[in-house]
């Protein structure tokens, strides 16, 4: 079936890897999730599909697609080997509520979420933030900054997005590896502070 990758170079994990961790990269459509994952991943980003059935309470939300028996949601993901025994997976997850079944699978076992936000389309991020909060996933906001967009003051963003004072807001260019890595690092540092508090 040709299921073997064309070249085995770099496809497989090191045999010594013992632990896989997962961080979600979420945001509204076309906010830059796939770019971010492509920038950070050591493998060419892969795509998987999750199947959704129409059974369940959220069918009413499907609106225009009602009448179809199944819908699948495509997700892009990438991989970063972090040490001889640890690998991190980044999953790009669409933020619409109608993908709720996917969210249950995606959030299970995730360390946290990086929410990519377009400062010019803040409203489109509201449902995404609602979903992340609904699943109890800790998150950081990453304002995807393009050359031409003006930088909005952090307090303005914080107010517009109704964030807790401790929720980190960072600016990142999803095309730039250092910048994207810094956004992930800000998220992980925040996760550490939460753990400290719980202990």
């Amino acid at each position: 079936m040709g299921s073997r990758p064309d070249s085995a170079d770099g496809v497989y994990l090191d045999d010594a890897v013992q632990i896989a961790a997962k961080i979600l990269v979420v945001g509204h459509f076309a906010v830059g999730k796939t770019t971010f994952i492509g920038t950070m991943s050591e493998i060419p980003p892969l795509r998987t599909e999750e199947r959704m059935t129409q059974a369940g309470a959220h069918v009413d939300d499907l609106g225009g697609v009602r009448g179809k028996s199944t819908t699948t949601v495509a997700m892009d993901f990438g991989r970063i080997t972090l040490s001889s025994k640890l690998v991190l997976y980044l999953f790009g997850t669409p933020g619409q509520e109608r993908f709720v079944q996917v969210w249950e699978d995606m959030t299970r076992g995730a360390l946290g979420a990086l929410i990519l936000v377009d400062p010019e389309r803040l409203k489109e991020s509201f449902p995404v933030i609602d979903l992340v909060e609904q699943y109890g996933l800790p998150y950081a906001i990453s304002v995807n900054h393009f050359d031409e967009t003006p930088v909005r003051p952090e307090n303005e963003l914080r107010e517009a997005l109704d964030l807790l004072p401790e929720t980190p807001i960072v600016t990142c260019d999803a095309r730039d590896q250092k910048s994207s890595a810094d956004a992930l690092i800000a998220l992980v540092r925040y996760l550490q502070t939460r753990t400290d508090r719980r202990a």
Partner: protein, 123 residues
């Protein structure tokens, strides 16, 4: 929200993939999630396996991969791949590295390792 042509929501009739699993749905157990790591065991493979299972074993024989990567390389939905892996694992053809237990997700040392790794690689 659900505009036609939205590339994140492809409407597909998944008849063929569920023929692969003999019509069975997703296993309820949590043995396989997206980041469960899998490779082949030393157990010899019988010739009568389904072609899709042969393909999974071909792919996995190269080394360690996550369930999501197996699905991505095979271009099959995650649910189908979980069923195939579940069968192959029950028959002893796979070695499965268990996912991190939920309690350990907030483990300080795991987060520190993630942070160290990111800083070492990109800092």
């Amino acid at each position: 929200m659900s505009t036609p042509g939205d590339p994140e929501a492809l409407s597909v009739e998944l008849v063929r993939p569920y023929v692969i699993t003999n019509g069975r749905g997703l296993p309820d157990d949590d043995q396989f999630n997206l980041i469960t790591l899998v490779t082949t065991s030393d157990q010899p493979r019988p010739s009568h396996l389904d072609p899709e299972k042969h393909s999974v074993l071909d792919l996995c024989s190269g080394g360690l991969l996550s369930v999501a990567e197996i699905a991505g390389h095979m271009k099959l939905p995650i649910g189908i791949v979980k069923v195939l892996l579940s069968d192959l694992s029950a028959d002893g053809f796979l070695v499965v590295r268990a996912p991190v237990p939920p309690a350990q997700l907030v483990d300080v040392s795991l987060l520190q390792e993630v942070l160290n790794g990111l800083q070492a690689r990109f800092g």
